[in-house]
């Protein structure tokens, strides 16, 4: 960030403060006696508690500067300097007052904690009024009286299940910041009757433009609109033929052409691939579990395909929510119903995986609850469990409710009306949820092509590991036999001799030097890794199940359904400061209370769900998916808006709290939320509404650029359409589409695109060993599938997509970065991936056109969707010609791929390096892309041109 924007960040902070001030900015007069007591109780004491007592009171064993502030007497006595800290009646000369001004002492010492002007004023008023300090009973009287007042100058009370302190429970909120917790307004209150429903979006957008007197940009050109809509809905560029057809249709009837276009794109299976990926950003899709071992989560792709199908089939969002959060419980209920059986029948079905297609789909959906990074290696079992539950609570809050609940793990929320109690109610709602790989039959929609050949590959890798391991074990046991012989003892194998005293058995790893010891460990790990990967071909799903408790510990290595007889659900407590050992009050499973939306209004506490082991999540999910849950409905329409326009109506789509950005068009947000629910929670109609608006169709060039840069520098008013850079997937998939290499499929086993070979073969540490090398898929048909179908390893990102800001799957990504950094230039110019694409495109051009000029024009049509201008043709014809001369002079090296590599690792016990061989059998049958050495100088020259075009801003940005 530059200095300039650093300053802007500070301004932003100030702006937040000013907002707070505006609520309470009523000028204060010096209060009389009674009101001075009241002023102290309601304004000054809470301030002292929040800002001072932490270091000057609460902890009697650690008082800073020997200065205690817990009573008036102590304030008068002062600290180690011996000077009284307050002079009643004279704030200006009081040390305490000077300290908060940061004159003399600087208190509180942290910049972020400094008192606001208003707080300083409160302190001044109090000291000048004689610094009264009424007794506890008097204080309580004032406080209770104040609680009767719903809204006062300090803001509004907010009813919740209650915080851990009275101060928190009775604190007040700036109503403007609580917009997300308010009921969603009715459409009739929002849209004047005179405005037709299909003009609603523009009504709200234009209203603000008119208020600000900003002129909207004109409509974008049809070619730009086509490219915008096609990338937006499918993540791919339009073909030249589509451009021609659309422009012709537009000239005949622009509105109809536009409507037809949107319908066509929404009906394309490519739509689900693009919009499913948005969802996977939020939920953090990866095929492995991350952390120390980065274990594969075989068949995680079933969740990915579920998401893609959900978008393509326009699954209602409320169902989408419930299935992801509690699909397994839906399936259990369904089994119960269709078999008439009880718990035992449900459990048996779980073990056998005897599910209908619909039930299977629901269970697959709960992959959502298995998607975060998790590993229990070297972590105590209860802590590992806590890490899982915290993660699930947090991701559920961010994904569905746009709430960052993580803050409330340790304390009542600092800014939002979410007590830590509600965090632990949520936590408790998940506390009977257990992770498992479950037998779930494949669906007829699921793509099971490639199973056989992929299985053969896994078996090959496994056989190699086992053979290598056996050789070493044999050598070790031969030495062991010898040792036993020499000591006149009967031979015992490794297992049998494990617990013998040192004198009665050979040393560990007898007969093996440090190299062999290291190798043995690697082979043992590999054997295990490839054995597990055989499960890729089993009807298994990464899922969860509900159980009161499970026997033993959950190991990330292998998670299967386990049940404990007569188990009781755990009693959950508030964990003070988030520590497992600091048990606070016990809590029941439940939901967020601040919303005022009951789970069951007839209960004494309307915000709790069942405390049975089964059904907690389902009730929680149904509460989230309730039509009146304004967090949920606003959160999703806001995301959809963001994915269309680059910024949400509320800019922090994962955080609707007081510290998140407030909506720029709150009425539009509410209108869309209501309308979405009324229309069956379906996405496609929402896309239509948004994309048919004038706002979406505007040019990306502002009408009054100078004025806009002053009045609306962030384009919050949407007077023009924001230009955006292509996402990582759009860059890769778009290029493959342009070169003609892209292969469409219907999901299934992840594919391995060719990634930078240095990274592919670079050693990657996992606990005790190195992870197997990355081997790309053998054929272009597999490799050149869309990026959403690629294998996503948490510990080994594809450097290409990572560089273009595909998010790190450890954190929910609310919005993607798109800054231009230098390494992107290296990759775009120099990488094999890019040079291969340019050659592929050059070959396509040569097949389709005969002259350089026609080839250039065709390239422009494919890459930009337009013809080359005469100036461009002239420039590039010369360039291609010069490059032909250049390439006549050079001879590229042929490319070869290794079928085996030598790995090096430091052996743990000796600290010395050792080497071992790893096989890469894919490269025995690898169908490589055309490489520079495979093609003529002419093709290489044309490829240079293609590389240029793919590097341009015009390709990388969507207007």
């Amino acid at each position: 960030m530059s200095l300039h924007s650093y300053a802007l960040a500070t301004c932003f902070a100030l702006a937040v403060e000013l907002c707070c001030l505006s609520v309470v900015a009523a000028p204060k007069t010096e209060p009389a006696d009674q009101s001075a007591d009241r002023h102290f109780t309601l304004r000054v004491l809470p301030l002292l508690k929040e800002k001072c007592f932490g270091c000057h009171g609460n902890d009697t064993t650690n008082i800073r500067g020997e200065y205690t502030m817990l009573s008036r007497e102590e304030l008068l006595q002062g600290g180690e300097s011996g000077e009284p800290s307050i002079i009643p009646g004279n704030a200006e000369d009081s040390v305490l007052f000077q300290a908060v001004l940061w004159e003399g002492y600087e208190m509180p010492p942290k910049e972020n904690d400094r008192l606001t002007a208003d707080q300083i004023e409160d302190l001044r008023v109090w000291i000048n009024a004689g610094a009264p300090w009424p007794d506890e009973a008097t204080q309580q009287k004032f406080r209770e009286a104040e609680w009767e007042v719903e809204t006062n100058a300090d803001g509004r009370l907010w009813r919740t299940s209650g915080g851990t302190s009275e101060e928190w429970t009775s604190r007040r909120y700036n109503p403007e910041e609580m917009w997300a917790f308010e009921m969603v307004a009715e459409k009739s209150e929002l849209l004047p009757e005179s405005v037709p429903a299909d003009e609603a979006v523009d009504h709200f957008i234009d209203q603000r433009l008119t208020e600000a007197d900003v002129k909207a940009a004109e409509e974008a050109k049809p070619r730009d609109l086509l490219r915008r809509a096609t990338y937006d809905l499918t993540g791919l560029p339009p073909t030249p033929e589509e451009v021609d057809a659309f422009v012709a249709a537009w000239e005949a009837d622009a509105d109809q052409a536009w409507e037809h276009l949107i319908d066509r794109l929404l009906a394309s299976p490519r739509y689900g691939e693009r919009w499913g990926r948005h969802w996977l950003d939020v939920t953090r899709y990866a095929d492995t579990g991350g952390m120390s071992n980065d274990y594969e989560r075989s068949n995680m792709w079933r969740y990915r395909d579920y998401v893609i199908r959900a978008f393509n089939e326009d699954k209602p969002y409320n169902e989408f929510i419930v299935e992801q959060l509690a699909g397994d419980e839906l399936a259990d209920e369904s089994v119960r119903e269709r078999t008439g059986g009880g718990d035992q029948k449900v459990f048996q079905t779980q073990m056998k995986g005897d599910y209908t297609q619909e039930e299977a789909e629901w269970i697959i959906a709960t992959g959502f609850l298995r998607i975060g990074p998790w590993d229990n290696a070297m972590i105590e079992a209860d802590e590992a469990r806590q890490i899982y539950l915290d993660d699930v609570v947090n991701i559920t809050g961010q994904t569905f409710l746009a709430q960052t609940l993580r803050c409330c793990k340790c304390h009542d929320h600092k800014f939002d009306p979410i007590p830590t109690r509600d965090y632990y109610r949520f936590y408790s709602a998940f506390s009977t949820t257990h992770m498992a790989e479950r037998p779930v039959p494949f669906l007829k929609e699921e793509n099971r092509e490639r199973f056989e050949e992929q299985k053969a590959h896994v078996e090959r890798m496994l056989a190699f590991a086992v053979a290598e391991k056996n050789k070493l074990v044999e050598k070790q046991e031969t030495a062991a036999r010898k040792w036993f012989d020499e000591h006149n003892l009967p031979y015992k194998n490794e297992q049998e001799r494990k617990n013998l005293p040192d004198e009665e058995k050979p040393p560990r790893h007898v007969g093996l030097d440090h190299v062999e010891q290291g190798q043995l460990k690697v082979r043992e790990q590999d054997e295990w890794i490839w054995t597990r990967r055989l499960e890729r071909f089993q009807p298994m799903a990464q899922s969860v199940y509900s159980a009161a408790d499970i026997p033993g510990t959950a190991y990330a290595k292998k998670l299967r359904i386990k049940r404990k007889n007569d188990a009781q659900p755990p009693v959950n407590h508030i964990l003070t400061g988030g520590a497992l050992t600091a048990l606070g009050e016990a809590v029941k499973p439940g939901v967020l209370s601040a919303l005022g939306l009951p789970v069951n209004a007839s209960q004494e506490d309307p915000y709790v769900v069942t405390d049975d082991a089964f059904g907690r999540r389902l009730q929680l999910a149904r509460w989230i998916a309730h039509p009146e849950n304004g967090l949920t409905t606003r959160a999703i329409v806001n995301r959809v808006w963001q994915w269309h326009f680059g910024t949400g109506l509320a800019a922090n789509s994962n955080n609707f709290g007081a510290k998140g950005a407030k909506p720029t068009h709150p009425e539009l947000l509410d209108y869309l939320a209501r309308d979405f629910v009324e229309n069956g929670w379906q996405f496609k109609q929402l896309h239509r509404k948004i994309m048919l608006s004038d706002a979406y169709r505007r040019s990306s060039t502002p009408a009054e650029a100078e004025k806009v840069s002053e009045v609306d520098p962030n384009n919050e008013l949407l007077s023009f359409f924001p230009r955006r850079r292509l996402t990582a997937e759009e860059v890769r998939d778009g290029m493959l589409a342009i070169t003609g290499e892209l292969v469409h499929c219907y999901g299934g086993l992840p594919v391995m695109p060719e990634i930078n070979m240095e990274v592919a073969l670079q050693p990657r540490m996992i606990q005790f060993s190195l992870a197997p090398a990355y081997q790309p898929s053998a054929t272009p048909e597999e490799r050149n599938r869309r990026t959403v179908y690629a294998y996503h390893v948490r510990g080994q990102a594809d450097p290409f997509t990572e560089l273009f800001n595909q998010p790190n799957p450890n954190e929910s990504c609310e919005i993607r970065e798109s800054a231009a950094v230098t390494p992107q230039a290296f990759t775009m110019l120099n990488s094999d991936v890019m040079n291969d694409r340019s050659i592929a495109l050059a070959k396509r051009l040569q097949e389709e056109r005969n002259t350089t000029e026609a080839q250039i024009d065709r390239a422009f049509r494919l890459v930009f969707g337009r013809h080359a201008s005469p100036a461009e043709k002239q420039q590039l014809t010369t360039y291609v010609k010069d490059m032909q001369d250049y390439h006549q002079q050079v001879k590229p090296e042929p490319v070869s791929y290794p079928t085996e590599i030598t790995r090096s690792l430091v052996e743990e016990f000796s600290g010395r390096p050792f080497e071992y061989q790893e096989i890469l059998p894919i490269f025995e049958r690898y169908q490589a892309d055309s490489k520079p050495a495979d093609v003529s100088a002419e093709t290489r020259a044309l490829a240079d041109l293609c590389l240029l075009l793919l590097n341009t801003n015009e390709f990388m940005y969507v207007e």
């Binding site: 960030m1 530059s2 200095l3 924007s5 802007l8 960040a9 932003f12 010492p109 952390m291 120390s292 070297m378 960052t404 494990k498 013998l500 040192d502 040393p507 560990r508 910024t647 800019a651 922090n652 955080n655 709290g657 998140g660 950005a661 520098p713 962030n714 240095e758 990274v759 670079q762 050693p763 540490m765 510990g795 790190n808 450890n810 954190e811 609310e814 919005i815 970065e817 800054a819 231009a820 230098t822 390494p823 230039a825 290296f826 110019l829 120099n830 990488s831 040079n835 010069d882 050079v890 090296e893 743990e908 016990f909 000796s910 600290g911 010395r912 240029l948 590097n951 341009t952 801003n953």
Partner: protein, 469 residues
């Protein structure tokens, strides 16, 4: 990050150096663009917030966790109790535990009372040892490698927050715009947790550590394929500039993001020339190479990286980090630690000597640390008294030199080395101190993300004044 800021930043922030004037001149056929003014861009050098003691940092990260009692913190009590049952608690391992005496003898090095085990031959030279500060009071939290690595590198156990180097470059920028501001060197295998250890986290991506790869291309795709010459590349960039300039010109309103992206290609071109120069060690004298141990296979890797670190800092890189693994000695401690010490001793000593001789040590803070320390006791492994140590988050040891740090021993551990007992501080205080030395105030070096202004120490920390000269 906050998208509002992100967008503002996109409009006003980076690469504002190039205006449309430059482009129209290019359209007239004039060649190339001048290097941008040094005060532009997110990595432009910035003034420290408070008087700085150090300008640069070289952090030597000993992954796995070196044993304090086997390196710089002698515990004769352990020799006496060797193989006797230990009743100390802590650590993850359960069951029977026994004390493990250090396999090494100890010596005093230099004039400031630094203790060193007898495996340190070069570091013990008074010329070097007199610069060292040995801090024994730091306490980690996590007992697991990746989490502890994340904690030491990013201030958070969870991973995903910006690393120390990212915060430093965010706060200070960097001196050479043709090189990355924050450079990371690893062994062939990445440390546990991988790039998360040098991540920009929620800071903009310019502050991410750039890894110089130990073999192959030092930066991925730095060089064009071998059949494309530098002239070929220049020509391609010129043609590209013309295409981009024409495109920019066709938009009636300028967009800084587009010009910034154009500038990134020119920076890439300059970096292509500069990086190989900086990392080309053949420009060093034979004597220097020998001093760093480049002539010995055991010290070559780390020696090369230490020499590279000096060259990078000399060239204006702000923050350099070197990861060296293999310290996780649960067993065969003597072999393991002596091999690791041997591989880093000579290069580290050379680095400090070299910096000192060149007058760079005053401005360069060198830190040597692991992610945690080790336990005084161990479990049996496979039924055998295995002479190694477990993970210890209550005590560890670190070295610092130069950059405003006071030489000598600071803090202490108990008689077993089990727990820090004097000048005890959590990692966040170390981070606060490190930033302070660089002239940055942890409480002011903040970034708005996910609803609050975040900082390296998470929620604030304390300075460790004992470490300051």
């Amino acid at each position: 990050m906050n998208p509002t800021l992100s967008r503002r930043q996109a409009l006003y922030g980076l690469g504002a150096s190039l205006g449309s004037i430059a482009f129209s001149s290019m359209l007239n056929g004039e060649q190339a663009m001048a290097a941008p003014a040094a005060d532009a861009g997110p990595l432009a050098p910035k003034k420290p917030m408070v008087p700085a003691r150090a300008k640069n940092v070289i952090m030597l990260f000993m992954e796995g966790g070196p044993g304090q009692m086997d390196t710089f913190d002698p515990k004769p009590e352990l020799a006496r109790l060797h193989k006797q049952e230990s009743m100390l608690t802590g650590g993850l391992e359960k069951g029977f535990k026994f004390f493990v005496g250090s396999p090494f003898g100890f010596q005093k090095a230099g004039d400031n009372g630094i203790d060193m085990c007898d495996q340190w031959k070069y570091l013990a030279d008074p010329y070097v040892a007199n610069e060292l500060c040995n801090y024994r009071g730091c306490q980690a939290e996590s007992l697991n490698h990746p989490e502890a690595l994340f904690h030491m590198n990013t201030g958070s156990r969870l991973g995903g927050d910006p690393s120390v180097g990212a915060w430093a470059t965010y706060g200070l920028g960097t001196e050479n715009q043709n090189l990355p501001g924050y450079v990371v060197m690893t062994e062939l295998a990445l440390p546990q947790g991988g790039p998360t250890n040098w991540s920009n986290g929620f800071l903009p991506p310019y502050y991410q550590g750039t890894r110089l790869r130990p073999s192959g291309s030092p930066i991925l795709d730095l060089a064009p394929p071998s059949y494309k010459s530098r002239e070929h590349q220049r020509r391609a960039l010129d043609e590209l500039s013309r295409l981009n300039a024409r495109h920019l010109d066709s938009l009636s309103v300028a967009d800084q993001r587009l010009s910034a992206r154009m500038e990134s290609y020119e920076l890439a071109y300059r970096m292509q020339a500069e990086v190989p120069n900086v990392i080309d060690l053949s420009r060093e004298s034979r004597q220097t190479m020998e001093m760093y141990g480049l002539d010995d296979s055991e010290t070559e890797t780390f020696g090369r990286q230490c020499l590279m670190a000096r060259r990078l800092v000399e060239s204006g890189v702000r923050f350099v980090q070197i990861f060296s693994g293999g310290w996780d000695s649960h067993d065969y401690l003597e072999r393991g630690h002596s091999a690791r010490i041997k591989s880093v001793d000579k290069p580290m000593a050379a680095l400090i000597r070299d910096l000192k001789q060149r007058g760079m040590l005053e401005d360069t803070l060198v830190i040597w640390t692991g992610e945690f320390g080790r336990t005084p006791d161990n479990n049996k492994r496979g039924g055998v008294y295995s002479l190694g140590r477990g993970h210890n988050n209550n005590a560890m040891t670190m070295l610092m030199a130069g950059g405003g740090v006071k030489p000598g021993v600071v803090g202490a551990t108990d008689e077993f080395g089990a727990r820090a007992v004097e000048c005890v501080h959590p990692i966040r205080d170390l981070h606060v101190t490190l930033l302070h030395l660089l002239g940055l105030d942890d409480n002011k070096l903040t970034y708005y993300h996910a609803g609050r202004f975040k900082q390296l120490s998470q929620f604030g920390g304390e300075l460790i004044p004992e470490l300051l000269a």
